[in-house]
Structure formats: structure tokens, C-alpha cells
């Protein structure tokens, strides 16, 4: 089957439009993050306690809140699924005691004795560990980006490395923006998703870069815009096939993987889409623009040196 045989799409011709779209998406992301008072940190990073409880029968959130209020924790966040029989309770407290989770479950069972509630999962993160995890997560993303920059710099050219890394930062910011827009929390697994996106997106970018490197030799004398356009078109089929197969599984993971993994799958889904887009419309055009402006400057410098107007 051939869906993308001999396509001649002028990707570089619309690069200004693509830049504008990306800037708008980044703008929306940043505004959403600011409007939400920063990215919404999960217990991993903010410290506090998260418990997932399951009851035999539906236990509405207001009933849970009533019990929590009696314990002086009325400001807890409650998120429910599975027809209100399963709930995630999040308490952001500077002082969480290790007994808190079991105490809450005991209190729920005392208040609603004919509806047995069971503790399914508990995550408690002290403020110190939370701060450390925040630091390491930020460092992890930074180091990943720097690692990519250095690798591409060695294998290609510095400009390609820079273009790739700018595209990655673009992917990360937009994914964070989507998470913020849908009011999802940043947890350790989300950081893992972000780094996977970084890996996937750069993978995609390198396939295109690789073809550009090859076609530069093959199409010697052609303009850079032409070379890049041909390269993107030649690799388009692969980009779409791999992208689709990845999106298939990530979508399935989102719908079938269960509640614990859903946000992770969501981040991957956004990231894979944005990452595929950015390889074609950001990483590559940036290199083209930089190269063109560099050439123009060189030419004018050359003209100035030779004394001609």
C-alpha cells in the first residue's frame, strides 16, 4: 500500500504559518499555566498524601468530604471514577502523618458502616522529598535536552542540534500546556512521559535530518529549501506510518490502561502528535531559516570585503 507516493508538498513554503501556529499554541500553553497559578503539581512534587479508596457501593464525593471535614481536612481534593465507587483523595498538607491514610479509611468505614471501603493505594511524599523530586525532574529534562543537543551536534551540525532542541522544548511546553488546560497533575510518571516524548520527537527529527544530510550530497547545487522539501516528502511515509502505529497503541493505553496510567497516556498522545508535527514544521524549517540568514550575512560580508556595492 502506498499512501504517500511521490508527494511534493511544499512544507518549507508554509513554515511562517507553522511558526505562527506554534507560537499561538505556546502562548495558549503559557497563559493556561499562568492562569492556573503554575503547573499543577502532584503529590510527588508538592508533598502531601494521595489515597485511592474503593467502596463496595457508590460513595459520593460529598459524603467523603463530610467525613474529611470532621477530621479537619475539608480542603482535600476528591476525584471519582467507576460510578463513584472509586475515589482518589489528595491532601496537600505540610504535616502529613504516616497514619493519616489508614485513619481516613477507618473514619470512612465508621461513618458508612454498611459500605465497606478499602485502601487501594497510598502515596505519601514529605516536603523535603517533594522539593528534591522537583529539582531532579527539572534537571532530568534539562539534561535530556542538553544530551540531545550534544549528540546531534556531533553527528550532524550544531545548527541541526539547536533546531532539534528548540523543537523539543516546543513539544514539552505544549504538552505541559495541554496538561494544564485539562487540569491534570504533573507527577513522576508524567515526567517519564515527557522524556519519552523528547526521545520520540528527536527520533522523528533525526530521520528527517538524516535524509537532508544524504540529499545534500545527492542534490548538490539545489537550493536548501528544495533539498529539505524533498527530504521531508521522502520520509513522510515513514513519519506517518510510525506515528500512526504509535498513536494507535497510546490511544488504546489511554482508554484501556486503567486510571493510574491514564494521564501518562494522555501526555504521550499529545506529545507524539506535537512531536511529529514539530519534526516537520519546527525542527527542520528553523535550520533552513538560520542557514539562509547565515548565507545572506556571508554574502553581504563577502560583498563588503570585495568592495563592491
Amino acid at each position: 500500500m502506498e499512501l504517500f507516493l511521490n508527494t511534493k508538498i511544499n512544507f518549507m513554503g508554509v513554515r511562517r504559518v507553522a511558526f505562527a501556529i506554534s507560537l499561538v499554541m505556546i502562548g495558549i500553553s503559557i497563559i493556561s499555566i499562568i492562569a492556573h497559578g503554575g503547573v499543577r503539581l502532584g503529590v510527588d512534587f508538592s508533598g502531601g498524601i494521595l489515597l485511592q479508596v474503593q467502596s463496595e457501593k457508590p460513595l459520593p464525593a460529598q459524603d467523603i468530604r463530610a467525613t474529611l471535614e470532621k477530621m479537619g481536612m475539608g480542603d482535600a481534593e476528591i476525584q471519582q471514577f467507576g460510578h463513584e465507587s472509586e475515589s482518589i483523595i489528595r491532601i496537600a498538607q505540610s504535616k502529613t502523618t504516616p497514619e493519616l491514610a489508614t485513619n481516613i479509611v477507618k473514619a470512612l468505614n465508621a461513618d458508612y458502616p454498611d459500605n465497606r471501603t478499602e485502601l487501594r493505594r497510598q502515596e505519601l511524599v514529605g516536603p523535603k522529598v517533594g522539593a528534591e523530586l522537583r529539582r531532579t525532574a527539572t534537571l532530568a529534562i534539562l539534561f535530556a535536552l542538553i544530551g540531545m543537543l550534544i549528540y546531534i551536534w556531533f553527528r550532524f551540525e550544531f545548527m541541526f542540534g539547536l533546531g532539534g532542541v528548540v523543537a523539543l522544548a516546543h513539544d514539552v511546553v505544549i504538552t505541559l500546556g495541554f496538561l494544564s488546560l485539562t487540569n491534570r497533575e504533573i507527577t513522576l510518571t508524567i515526567i517519564a512521559a515527557l522524556l519519552t516524548i523528547v526521545g520520540y520527537s528527536i527520533n522523528d527529527t533525526i530521520v528527517v535530518y538524516d535524509r537532508i544530510r544524504e540529499n545534500r550530497k545527492k542534490m548538490y547545487g539545489k537550493s536548501l529549501v528544495d533539498i529539505v522539501n524533498v527530504s521531508v516528502n521522502e520520509t513522510l511515509s515513514r513519519t506517518i506510518v510510525t506515528g500512526m502505529s504509535t498513536i494507535f497503541v497510546v490511544t488504546i493505553l489511554y482508554f484501556m490502561g486503567g486510571e493510574v496510567i491514564r494521564d501518562f497516556a494522555f501526555a504521550l498522545l499529545v506529545g507524539v502528535l506535537v512531536g511529529t508535527y514539530s519534526s516537520i514544521y519546527i525542527a527542520t524549517p528553523l535550520v533552513v531559516d538560520w542557514q539562509l540568514s547565515l548565507d545572506a550575512r556571508r554574502r553581504s560580508a563577502l560583498r563588503a570585503a570585495s568592495g563592491r556595492p
Binding site: M1, F143, A144, M148, A192, T196, G199, I202, T246, V249
Partner: protein, 548 residues
Amino acid sequence: MTPKMRWQAILVIVVIGLCVWRASYTIRFLSLDDAEKAQMAPEQVAALASKSLPLGLDLRGGMHLVLEVDRSGLPADEAADAMDRALEVIRNRIDQFNVAEPSIQREGDNRIIVQLPGLQDEERAKGLIGKTALLEFVPVEGADQIDLVFRAVDRALMDTMAAHGELPPLPDAADPGYQAALLTREHPFSARARYLQQVPFFPEELVPWAQQQLARLDVDALLPRDPENPLVPRVRIGWSEETLTLEDGKPYRALYVLSKDPLMTGTMVATAEVRPGLDEDNPNAPGVSLRLNRQGGRLFADYTGDHIGEQLAIVLDSKVQSAPVIRDRIPAGTPASITGNFADEEARDLAIVLRAGKLPAPMTIEEERTVGPSLGRDSVAQGVRAMVVGFIAVVLFMVIYYKLSGALAIGALIANLFALVAIMSILPTDPKPALTLPGLAGIILTIGMAVDANVLIFERIKEELRNQKTIRAAIRDGYDRAFLTILDSNLTTLIAAAVLWKFGTGPVRGFAVTLSLGIIASMFTAIVATRVVYDFLTVHRNVKRLSI
């Protein structure tokens, strides 16, 4: 067929065969349910488990604890080996607690990571591990001191309530409930307690409130002090471990005002054992019998002789276990006892911690991740279902798009999964890579991404075929040209995975391991193994048309 191709074919068959053989252990082990495991001999199960890929705590259920040892209060010489002693003490305690394959590791300067897989009773385990087991015998202060403390707390509480606008309005003197209302207003703290033989008891439901108020008020600053030592309060507050049910049928908890200095601590305990019949009121309840050493016995005898009629509290980790009234001088050599409403195992745990020794420094639980076995099972079921459906989707897609070659890529993908499981099950045990929930997601993601290498190759072959090359040449050039691209793109993903591994903890590390092994395995299965099949087809079968 050239000798090189023959060797390659043999290599591929042997490697994949080994992977399938090794992975079969994991498949067998994971498909056993509890009933089947119970039927097998324990050593048979253990042998199978050791050859299988272990499941992470988030999938099999269990507890992951990060404990921080607070060495700030220790003198330098003790601080130096405090970590080793703390590890030792925790190991001793866990050894006496029945958990399969516990892992206790030191991390950094002052952290200890404890992992208890398949744990049933997390509350008990936490109590056992986290207890400092600082046993103290502390004199209880008299009614005058209680009064002093409570008045101070009342006043401070009134002030804060007034500042927050929470203070109820002054009641009307004509109101019938005037006295009571005035009392609650002026004594917001002490009016909520009930007094039994001058000991204040708070209703259990108010205890968290009371603790919160006390924490908010910074009680230390309110406590009475000695003029000669104004920096440290003369007394401290301790809550009772047990609750008492009063005639209204509700549980109450006692609040004790204790002397700051203990009479003695657990270092003077020589032995500790569980004994029934220590409590006269409740002869069947188990208690812990302590034998003091010589010095302790003498001290105890002297003190009890001088303070007949006063209360002496037995305090464990700041909680008052009991506070008996001293009726007579207790001669040296008499065993002391700790009683309470212990269940058998609680008494046993207490004896364990007292025997295993107290922790050299207080420990706090900085991080805890507990997953109940039911959630773990659900996660596995959902993960496996997502994996199967995702796999089918990719199979359909590849076969429709690349026909027979797509089927070949799927074959490579299956081999890749076997290889992934096989490699993970033979990796060194420390740090043991386990299959975690993010790891499972990583495998599902690998299913989608691992076909990339084959997609790159197939697209290349198609291009070469379009350039009128022969099938053999197209395959050769397709593989050669795609190889560099695959290498470059996979190496960057490996960089991301390495960073994840370096900075991640627990489940996230499991994800990094599966992601990178999946990529490495795909380099073999997608490039080397599929090539062998193509070579076989083109050289031996002399295929004229490539189904791609």
C-alpha cells in the same frame, strides 16, 4: 547461501530460541494463580520466581518506604555510625516480621529505602519499622501543673480564635445556657475535656482537632518553665496510646502532662517478652514483660520508694502506654510490664522492637508508596488487555500496509517482546529491574515504536525498488541505508532513557529499563533477524516479487 548468511541464520535462531526459552519461565510464573502456587512445592515456586521477571511493587502490591534518619541531635561519634546501626535495627525488626524478599537499602547520607512486596498489613509494618522504640519511664505531673498548662492553652486559643474571627459572641447572661456557653468561650480547650481522677480525657473525634490546635499554638512556648532554665519547658505533653470507653459509649483519649526528664530509658531494659496475665483487670490480654538491668532496677526501686501515691508513665515514642499509680516501693529485680489493649501481634511487635533495640536516632517516613494487591491485580489485567489490543491494532496496520513484509515485522516484534522479557529476567539482581506499571506502559509503547526500524527499512526498500533496482539489491541497499538512521534515532532515545534512569526512582526506573532494552532488542530483531528471512527468501526461493 553464503557461509556468512548461514551463520547469521543460525545466530538468529539460537538467540531467539534462547529468549523464548528464558521468557517461558516468566510467562509460566505470571500465569500461575495463588491456588496453583499453593499446590506446588515452595522450593519449586521459588525456583520459578528466581528465573522469572519480578513484578514491581505497584503491580504485585506492596510497600515502598523512604525513611530519613534525623542525626542532628546526635553527638559526632554516634552520628558517624548511626546509619549502620539504624539499618541493622530495621533489618532485625523486619527479619522477625514475616515478609518474603524484603529489600532494605541505604540511600545517600541519611536515607533508608525499605521495600516490602506483597505486604498484607501495611499499618503494622509501618509501626514496626518506623517506631523509634524509645522507651521512657516518666513521672506524671500533678493537677496544679495540668491546670497551668491548660489555662495557657485556653488563653492562647482564645487569642487565635479572636484573631481569626472564630470566637463565639459573648452569651447573654439571661440565657439559660449562659454558664456553659461562657465556659466554652473562655476555655475553648479545657472545656472540651472530661476529667477522671484529675486526668483530662478528650473524646476521640476531637483528638485530631486538639493536636492541631496544640501544633498551631506552638505549645512549647506556653508550657511552664523553671526560672533557672527558661529555654526548655519544665513539662511536656503526652497522649495515651489507648482509648477508654466512657459511659456514653464513646472512646476517649487521655492527655498527660509529663515531666520533661524521664526517670530512665529503654537502655536499661535487659530483656523483653510477651506474657499474658500482666494486667489485673484484663488477665487474658497479652502484655510485654521487661526485665531491667542492675542499674535500672536500683533506680526504679529508689524512685518508687520515694514517690508512693504518684503516677509514673511508661512512654513509648512519645505515646503514653500506661500510667500506673505507684502503690509501693518496687524492689530491684521485679519485672516491669507494659500493658494495654494489645492484640497478640501488637504485643509481639512491641517485644520485637524493644529487643531489637531502639533506633539510634528518630526516623521519619519521607516517602511512602503503598499499593494494595487488588489494585496491582487490576493494573496487570488492564495493562495486559491494553497490550493485547494494541498489539492486534499494530498487527492489522502493518499487515495491511506492508503485507507479507508487515507480517515479518510483526514476527520481529514478537521476538522483540520475548527478548525484552528474557533480558529483564536475567539482569543482575541489584538493582533488580522489575516490571512496573510504567514499565508495562513502556512495553505497550515499544510495540508501537519498535516497528519504526522496520518501517524505515521497508520504506527504503520501496524507494530502491522504485529506482529499478533488483529485489536483492533493493533489500541490501535498503538495509544499509536505513541502518545509520536507525542507529542515530535509537541512540537519542537511549539518551533520554539513560537520563530517566539516572534521575528516576522506583517505577520510573522500571520504565527506563524497559524502554531502553526494548530499543536495543529491536535493533537485533528488526534489523538482523528480518534480514535473514529476506536473504533466505531471495537467495533460496528466488522470489520475484516482494510483498511489501
